[in-house]
């Protein structure tokens, strides 16, 4: 189906299913229960899962296939965001032109950065991209303040021209991003007993883009072009000796992945029309590298899982505070409760980086192939344990089932 092999079709359908039903999957605990803290099914976080999923998929096309480790990918995301907000300011609040321009501008910028950086490989390439990204950050933070809004970030104002829309709504507020009238923040909420599921328009727009991006990534992975990129990774010299010039291939991969980052940036401002310079800071570039490695470099689904995992940690674990811990452990005797809370406290709330770091170390040491490898191992173990029946299907399906909290 869709010109994909049987296994790829299955993976693709699983991804479609997961994105479609994420509002259910991510809200497993009833409202108001103690565990509701771990629910991730609210629009903002679900959108983030998909947007950073797209970002990581794009990064993986470069890093996973060619082995070129870009340490400045956040710059493209940032440039895309700024382009998107400027479209909102100048043209109107429809998200499509903003997203398209984001991709275009990020693409052009990545041609420039790629053309220069790809003259070197290995660590020198990484450092060059890092330098470009930090340069973009500094420019956006201070020098280009009139264009980027500096530290405050670029946001909409009631005085923007918006040629094809209203500068200010009749109610006196700044209009919100919409797709031909469908506001991105519109939500439909479904009450099922104690559960509350939210279906958000913006989320499903992201879902459409994410599914398309994932499909394109599968096609690239399986294409002759993808094969060339793998050749670059395995032995670039041999490739040159056989008379092939790797330059155009790597540059194409760089630009494609830059445009993915631009798409992610465009979607980000479509969901929340503000672009800040921190989006381009080197830690943001490092984060996408973490996502790819955590999920599994060079695998199709891995980066998406990694992105989901990190965003889940950032948004859910960082919000657990000591009050909540005390509630959880209130059944313990007083002294013991304090001890348990004192032990766990450094790892939650402001300590979420610590937890993430430990998880990352564990994954890198014990599962060099990332979460995907973990899934495969569990799948394999179940397969061996319970006989051969359906083992292959389970091995493939398991990675997703296991990591569904992080999607």
């Amino acid at each position: 189906m869709f010109g994909l092999s049987k296994a790829d079709t299955r993976l693709f359908l699983i991804v479609i299913g997961l994105t479609l039903f994420a509002p259910f999957i991510l809200n497993p605990f009833p409202e108001g229960s103690e565990l509701a803290q771990f629910n991730a099914g609210y629009p903002d976080l679900m959108q983030r899962f998909l947007i950073f999923g797209i970002f990581a998929i794009g990064f993986n096309i470069l890093f996973g296939l060619t082995g070129y480790l870009s340490f400045g990918h956040a710059a493209f995301l940032g440039v895309g965001s700024y382009a998107g907000v400027w479209m909102f300011k100048l043209l109107g609040m429809n998200v499509l032109p903003a997203i398209l321009l984001s991709m275009l501008v990020a693409g052009l910028f990545s041609v420039l950065v790629g053309y220069i950086s790809l003259r070197r490989s290995g660590i020198y390439f990484s450092i060059l991209t890092l330098a470009f990204a930090q340069m973009s950050f500094s420019l956006a933070y201070s020098v280009l303040t009139p264009i980027t809004g500096g530290e405050t970030g670029l946001q909409l104002s009631a005085n923007d021209p918006r040629i094809f829309g209203q500068s200010i709504t009749d109610a006196g507020t700044i209009p919100v991003p919409s797709l031909f009238g469908l506001e991105m923040r519109d939500s439909f909420q479904l009450d099922v007993g104690a559960w509350l599921f939210t279906f958000n328009a913006g989320y499903y727009l992201c879902a459409v883009f994410m599914v398309l991006a994932f499909y394109l990534s599968i096609r690239i992975f399986r294409s002759p072009f993808g094969m060339m990129l793998r050749a670059v990774k395995s032995n670039q010299q041999r490739m040159t000796y056989t008379g092939l010039n790797p330059k155009p291939y790597t540059l194409a991969a760089f630009v494609i992945s830059g445009m993915y980052a631009g798409l992610a940036g465009g979607l980000m401002v479509a969901m929340d029309p503000l672009a800040g310079a921190e989006r381009m800071f080197w830690t943001a570039s490092g984060e996408v590298v973490l996502m790819a490695i955590l999920g599994g470099v060079g695998t199709l689904i891995g980066p998406v899982l990694g992105a989901g995992f990190i965003k889940y940690m950032e948004n859910i674990v960082s919000k657990i505070n000591d009050n909540i811990l005390h509630q959880w452990f209130s059944f313990l005797p007083d002294g013991l409760e304090d001890v348990v809370v004192a032990i766990i406290y450094p790892f939650i709330g402001k300590g979420w980086h610590l937890t993430l770091g430990i998880m990352f170390m564990l994954v890198v040491i014990f599962l060099p192939g990332g979460l995907v490898e973990g899934g495969q191992r569990i799948g394999g173990w179940i397969g061996r344990r319970f006989g051969k029946g359906g083992s292959s299907a389970e091995a493939a399906a398991k990675p997703d089932a296991k990591s569904s909290p992080a999607e």
Binding site: S138, E151, T152
Partner: protein, 448 residues
């Protein structure tokens, strides 16, 4: 085989949803049923405390969080009540807000606009927060304020000093109690003219970001009006830790005053460098060389140590104030945590009480009702003397304190001393003052 497997799963899932949908007659879009975003329907109300817990301003953020916890205690009738006893409005009863128990959620802004917005959004969308407050930098405050405007909740700004928060980026749903760059300039200039004379040449080192620009502009225009001359304005990168290369040119200029428009770690480093270069012992044109730091904080003073002695700056509040409100607040904060609160903690505590009081007086959590109750609200007993929440820009107007570093501090908390209190008339400006022009409040947004 596998495809069939998957098909079955999808059918099951779809069936489950359809079944659930049919079984539940109470399907409704919650947003259209409520009158405003996150209308509290139960016996409690959720407030969102969004502060930097990691990053450069984590110290301020954690102190803010302590103040919020204290405020919640007082609102719920626990503890000694703090400023609720001295507050001029007596609407708060100590039984929560409108009889609903106050609960709160916390988040980490990381001092990044993006992270702050993500955290605020999760408070609004997931935890049902009806008010967001906090922040320790203007970039974050402006970003979260715009978000709250769009989402239809109230934003009570924490520590934010740049003019833009209630200037070009002001929003109807956002309120600021803290003072701003303009007020610093207006309060400092006369004191500086008094102390150092009106014939001075000032050299500016300014942190290269938004707050730096507005503060530099505010100070330079206020001092120039007093007769000072601006020699040069130099922007320094925010990430800089060594300012030697910026200090050296000061020695070669004919400047006799150095204004360090730096905050936090930046200021600690630049001031230390300046002192190391012997600027304070310098004599130019027969006048002693002086250093000025527009925005002071206790935490910065602690970092700079004895270098701060005798240096002028401005502050929103200081724990050594002797009015009843400040004493009550310092008392209950000290009892709970064992040390005095910072000005960041003070402004956050006051903001929470002001919000709760506005809700009580409005009789509703509806943001539009709260906005109406806060606009033009005059109050006293919150540590800053008589204060007005101006309706035109949602900025608090109150006296501004000019302070200077103590020559002989008694302990690590007693680092600054009050020089003068500039009365509110002197720091009041027109809402359309050039430094604040370009924005509009718009209409209040109750959401949904």
């Amino acid at each position: 085989m596998s495809k069939l497997d998957l098909g079955r799963r999808r059918v099951l899932k779809t069936g489950a949803i359809a079944g659930a949908g049919l079984a539940m007659p109470t399907i409704f879009t919650a947003q259209s049923a409520a009158a405003y975003t996150n209308e509290p329907t139960g016996s409690s109300v959720v407030l969102g405390f969004n502060v930097p817990q990691t990053g450069p301003y984590a110290d301020e953020g954690l102190d803010e969080l302590r103040a919020y916890e204290l405020a919640v205690e007082h609102l719920n009738g626990e503890g000694d009540g703090g400023m609720m006893n001295t507050f001029s409005s007596k609407a708060l009863k100590g039984n929560g807000i409108l009889g609903k128990k106050v609960e709160y959620v916390t988040g980490d802004t990381q001092t990044k606009s993006d992270a702050a917005r993500a955290s605020a959004k999760s408070m609004i969308e997931k935890d049902g927060a009806v008010m967001i407050t906090g922040g320790s930098s203007s970039g974050v405050a402006v970003a979260v304020q715009a978000l709250c405007q769009d989402a239809g909740v109230i934003f009570m700004a924490g520590l934010t000093h740049a003019n833009d928060t209630t200037g070009k980026d002001k929003r109807a749903n956002g309120f600021r109690h803290f003072f701003n760059s303009y007020m610093s300039g207006a309060a400092l200039a006369p004191v500086l003219a008094n102390q150092y004379g009106t014939d001075r040449n000032a050299y500016y080192l300014t942190a290269d970001y938004n707050w730096g620009y507005t503060t530099e502009e505010a100070i330079s225009s206020a001092t120039e009006a007093m007769g000072w001359n601006t020699v040069q304005k130099v922007l320094t990168p925010l990430a800089a830790t060594d300012f030697s290369s910026y200090i050296a040119p000061v020695l070669n200029s004919d400047a006799d005053v150095l204004v360090l428009v730096h905050y936090g770690g930046n200021m600690v480093n630049s001031l230390t460098n300046a002192v190391q270069f012997g600027l304070r012992d310098r004599v130019v044109n027969g006048k002693n060389f002086e250093i000025v730091v527009p925005l002071y904080s206790e935490l910065m003073a602690r970092g700079a140590g004895k270098n701060i002695a005798g240096i002028f700056g401005s502050q929103n509040w200081d724990w050594k104030f002797q009015d009843e409100g400040s004493k009550a607040f310092v008392q209950s904060f000290g009892t709970k945590y064992g040390f005095p609160p910072s000005q960041a903690a003070h402004t956050c505590y006051v903001q929470t009480l002001l919000y709760a009081d506005a809700v009580e007086r409005a009789g509703t959590f509806n943001p539009c009702g709260v906005v109406e109750a806060l606009e033009g609200f005059e109050f006293d007993g919150m540590g800053n003397g008589p204060t007005l929440y101006r309706a035109e820009d949602h900025q608090c107007f109150k006296d501004v304190v000019v302070v200077k570093g103590k020559e002989n501090p008694e302990n690590e908390f007693d680092l600054v001393e009050q020089v003068e209190i500039t009365p509110v008339e002197q720091v009041t400006y027109a809402p359309d003052h050039p430094q604040f022009a370009g924005g509009s409040l718009g209409a209040c947004n109750p959401g949904a």
